[in-house]
């Protein structure tokens, strides 16, 4: 047993980024008090158990103090370069608690991503895991979990395994699976590959016209010799009109995760996006205007900009009704300056559920993930047909 474990760890270590990983303090988007230090410590232990080399906490704390790094929700371009130069860290683990509930039943959700440092931070891996105490009650409720600590352990283990699997040599590329009908957008517009509806002055410039824009255009252009460069997608912070604190940030984060899963598409690290928006003093007023889209293209070299608005985000706290999520989202092409996709998505936890709660989605965090998956797949994935 021990040689097998050692061999597995050796494989993981060889595939990990060459150099230590800095584990940033865990952020809290749950809207409730959560033991962040304990969760960060659990993450460190999970990575160390899997053979990853971690940057000592003191070294990271010194760097953060020196650079006055306070935002732990992402990695800005300059900060990634400085981190690599000063500490030798080749990657940063960014994590956030998305849901934390101690009441019965306990609920816990965690999102984490590994970002390669350097001149341009790049997302290497990203995943989310959620667990609730009443997921599998089993016979006479013997399977119920009443301690949120147990859920934390399970979620951290899941994420650790996911990271290890993603970095293992020969690991398949991340791919998105099919979308259940109940999580598809209620209303979806997807731009046709040809015949833009706007006036001719909004057409792309000739030199940029060779870059495939819409998924349909991509599938049509199979005769190209070299594979097209991945389309860069900047996910802007979603506006939050719901009563839930941080709902916009949660949906934004999930959109980034889902965009990463689409082949031929690269999601720009949210820290880089945030830094660019702050430097340009770009504030969205009811969404993105075209000059702002031009600015995003200039600063981030983004081909597509994804933005939206969360109108309902109801987490199923103890005694509350079913979780419910509702958002609208748009994807704007910075090249053609046109909306290439627009959706309305809405679902409740018990939509399409069977008897005894089978197929029920227990948390709004998971529901948001399913809806975001439906949106991103319907809009960006060339393998999926648009289903209005």
């Amino acid at each position: 047993m021990i040689p097998v474990l050692a061999a597995a760890l050796a494989v993981a270590v060889s595939a990990a980024p060459p150099g230590p990983i800095a584990v940033l303090p865990t952020g809290n988007l749950s809207g409730a008090e959560a033991p962040l230090d304990a969760i960060q410590a659990a993450l460190r232990v999970a990575l160390q158990d899997r053979g990853f080399d971690l940057l000592p906490e003191e070294v990271l704390a010194d760097f953060m103090s020196r650079q006055r790094l306070r935002d732990v929700s992402g990695l800005a371009a300059g900060m990634g370069e400085a981190l690599q130069a000063e500490t030798g860290a080749t990657a940063v683990l960014v994590s956030s608690v998305d849901l934390f509930q101690q009441d019965q039943p306990p609920r816990f959700a965690l999102t984490a991503r590994l970002v390669a440092t350097g001149r341009e931070p790049r997302i290497v891996w990203m995943d989310m895991a959620a667990a609730t105490g009443d997921e599998k009650p089993g016979f006479l409720g013997l399977g119920r979990i009443s301690d949120v600590g147990v859920l934390e352990g399970r979620v951290v283990t899941t994420l650790g395994d996911s990271l290890q699997a993603a970095l293992a040599p020969g690991a398949p590329d991340a791919s998105s699976d099919s979308v259940a009908r109940r999580f598809r957008p209620r209303s979806l517009y997807r731009a046709p590959a040809d015949a833009p509806l706007r006036a001719p002055d909004a057409l792309p410039e000739p030199e940029a016209a060779a870059v495939p824009e819409t998924p349909a255009a991509e599938t049509a252009g199979e005769t190209a010799a070299a594979p097209p460069a991945p389309r860069r997608v900047a996910v802007l912070p979603f506006a939050n009109d719901s009563a839930m604190k941080n709902a916009g940030d949660l949906v934004t984060l999930e959109m980034v995760r889902q965009v990463r899963l689409v082949p031929g598409v690269e999601a720009i690290e949210p820290g880089v996006v945030r830094d660019a928006l702050l430097r340009a003093h770009l504030i969205q007023e009811e969404g993105l205007s075209l000059p702002q889209a031009d600015l995003v293209r200039l600063l981030l070299e983004a081909d597509l900009v994804l933005f939206g608005d969360v109108s309902v985000y109801v987490e199923a706290w103890a005694g509350d009704p079913e979780p419910e999520v509702d958002f609208s989202a748009r994807i704007l092409s910075t090249r053609t300056r046109q909306t290439v996709c627009a959706v309305l998505s809405h679902a409740r936890g018990d939509d399409g559920a069977w008897f005894f709660g089978l197929r029920r989605v227990p948390t709004a965090r998971t529901l948001a993930a399913r809806l975001a998956h439906g949106f991103v797949t319907g809009c960006l994935d060339p393998r999926q047909e648009a289903r209005p």
Binding site: D241, E285, E286, L288, L290, Q292, A342
Partner: protein
Amino acid sequence: MRKEGAEAGTGGRSKGAVLLTLFAAALVLAPGCASHRQGNVTFHDPDMDFSLIRSVAVLPFSNLTVSPKAEDRVREVFMTMLQATGATYVLPPGEVARGISRSALSNPVTPTTEDIVRLAKNLEADVVITGSVLEYGEVRSATTTANVISLNVQMMEGQTGKVIWSGASTKGGIDAGKRLFGGGGEPMNDVTADAVNDLLHRLFR
């Protein structure tokens, strides 16, 4: 005696037949009245060729309800569903906001004709749409509750600022069936989508 009895029986039957005929006529006419009322709330400019409309700017809706943000929600649903038809290009809301700012519209929810022309020119939009949310939320009758929405929408030509289409729709609410048998009615999202669908159906009819 037998004859009188027979006549009395015939009179009773004829009275019943008259009542039955009146009831049947009421049944036939009632839906007719409803459709007539619905038909009156849609206006199409007969001189306008709607197939020429390629880009649409949807202005912020006015909110005449007590529900905060109802106008934003309904406008978002309307914009996305209009765009999902694929018939026209709907300008992004941020671009519309920029156009409002550049055109110095003092009151974008009730623009004047000059405002419409100026805004359409700024945004290069063929038509401009305004709207009002009249009812949005839950209504109650005795122990029964249901969601209801009522909105009206106008479409103005960008070059002249004149109204070329106008429609109103009300969906949801409590009907006789819900009063008799109870039930909570449709969720607000579905009611909103129904009303917008109804308007779009009339627009493209």
